[in-house]
Amino acid sequence: MAENLEKVIQEVTARYGKDRTRMMDIVREVQARLGHVSGAAMDLIAREVKSHRVEVEGVVTFYAFYTDRPKGRHVIRVTDCVTARMRHVDEVVAAFEKELGIRVGETTPDGQITLERTSCIGLCDQGPAALIDDVPVTYISSDKVKSLVRVLRETGDAKKLVKTLGEGNNALDLVHSMVINNIRKRGDVIFAPFESGSAIRNAAAVSPAEVIRSVKTARLRGRGGAGFPAGMKGEFARNAAGDRKFLLCNADEGEPGTFKDRVILTEAPDLLFEGMAVAGYAIGATEGILYLRGEYAYLRPYLEHVLEQRRAKKLLGKGIAGKAGFDFDVRIQLGAGAYICGEESGLIRSCEGLRGSPRDRPPFPVERGYLDLPTVVNNVETLCCAARVLEKGAAWFAQIGSEQSSGTKLFSVSGDCRRPGVYELPFGLTVAEFLKEVGGDDAQAVQVGGPSGTCIDRGQFGRKLGFEDLPTGGSMIVIGPQRDILDVAAAFMEFFVEESCGWCAPCRIGNVLIRERLERIRAGKGLPEDLTYLEELCTTVKKTSRCGLGQTSPNPVATTLQNFRKAYEAKLLPARQDGRQPTFDLRAALSEAVRVQGREPVAH
């Protein structure tokens, strides 16, 4: 066994050139071969790549999909996303527990199956969903659980769970997935037909500076949510000192309710890779990385295949489009279940083979990013837009959408509406128009931009979706009239408590305190002053956290406190006239002492 371990580690580390920056791949492969990454394995990896045990262990224990302890041969990860809760995912989990005879977090005694919960897996429009090994399983109901477990046990192959294939490229042999695209509305930018090479040819015909000028003229802004002008970012990197630069594509969409990039990666990967090549050309990068979230590992073989095809067509590699010096290639870096890696500096660290903890900025990645070299990190959708800008021209792109938000936007829609799925719509439409489109007219609230965004009430449905008013990375969760808005906020807080990287105290501790106080209110034990406390705490966490996660994580509570205050007030206990706290019960607080000491209180 020990010899075998040594052999495996040597093979795996050698495959990645004994390069410690490839730690994510090394750990993933060691785990795939050995089931888990033991302490002994970590020691050996550290020795082989000339790193330290603590660095390897840091990686293994940081990412939800890696484990330092043995798990079952198969791992079932049921999503804990709020949209799945709306569809009674708890009943599904209970059914799995019953069928397997274990609780969440445990492994069956025969070592076959481990049951876990995981954060949003990007299948909110077809939930409740689970990842079984790498295979996404959608529309799970409690009565399907029995047969899922039976097939898994009988065949020992999670792929055999796929009975019916999804539409479009989901049905390709290389994908072979039951996931459906659910594209409800196609626009002109992302989901329109695209001829590979058309954008690259136009880019190669002009100078890189002119490509950047086009993107600026198109007024393209980042689609991840923050909306930073894409042309400006590219220019910063282009002007940064140094010859070696990088283009990273952020395909780590983890915001609950977001699944638009999954559909782009499935249906329009050529457009994305075209955008990456164009962007690489513009900023002077010859190396690109697609950081693919671990939840989408099932798409990797297909994406590798598309990359191969593009290399064969001279749309990737050396001398792209016949132009000397236009060199660019892409490698895929798989993530491993960490929301925080969607934050650009966390993503960069992860690509470097480290824990995905964000780092201080400045310096910004455009100056010192991946391997401390100038790096642009763009959202999947942004890069697709960039390709289209080059194909069809900046003017064409700029006339779609609104003044400050040009182009179309992909919305991933889930929750209480009749037509969940992906919509490509021009920026600038109102929330009311949006709700009509998706069949959610009777909503009491919409969570715009996911948990880190804002929760708006009916009074604000006239607001416009776009950077001028209501920005969104794409996540739109419709909350119907039957929901308790505090349940939704609580689910989101749990998500942030789980996903905080733990580096800075305001986020690590503050989110836990917010959740605790919210739970107290939900349990009917809240006091009027708890609302003030929550408001102050939310402000503190937002102001003092290190990265975007903590700067937005109080939003589910902060925005509902603002927009749904009555829902909170309805649950509060009224203050007592005598100044005693209604939540303190002396008899209860003494009951343990009465039992242990066997006597009654001295004074009653």
Binding site: R580, F584, A589, L590, E592, A593, Q597, G598, P601
Partner: protein, 181 residues
Amino acid sequence: MAKPKVATASLAGCFGCHMSILDIDDRILKLAELVEFHKSPINDIKKFSERCLVGIIEGGCCNEENVHVLQDFRKNCDLLISLGDCATMGGLPAMRNHVPLEECLAEAYLHGPTVHNPAKQIPNDPEIPLILDKVYPLHEVVKIDLHLPGCPPPADAIWEVLVALLNNKPIDLKYGLLRYD
């Protein structure tokens, strides 16, 4: 006009906060001119006989007597000040909050490494107040008007707060006076 009255008490605390009150040094003479000390360990008055403007309480609630004293203060004082880290957060005594009461007593009186208790007796005299399941900060038991943190809060902070209250001025503690150590 009669001078406003101030009452103080130490519950599950170490009297360190009271030491800090005394640490205002000669300003205590000035304070005595401004206010009259009512129920307080400083003068050993045991019972409230008059209404007080301010009640200053050190320490959290660890037993039933603490709760009764605190409720008595709430009843007899216009303003309650939670003084110091034990009062505001439970402080050191609250370290037991993570240990069930039964284990806590056993460790303290039976199994602790320095315990000498041949009779294996846990104190249980009927006059000893029963202890609570955990240590509570004051504001979880009654409404508290002001929290002054610190272990102990600096004497200057206590002075500033009292002077501001007595003159009906807003409290504005300078940097360094509001601290948690």
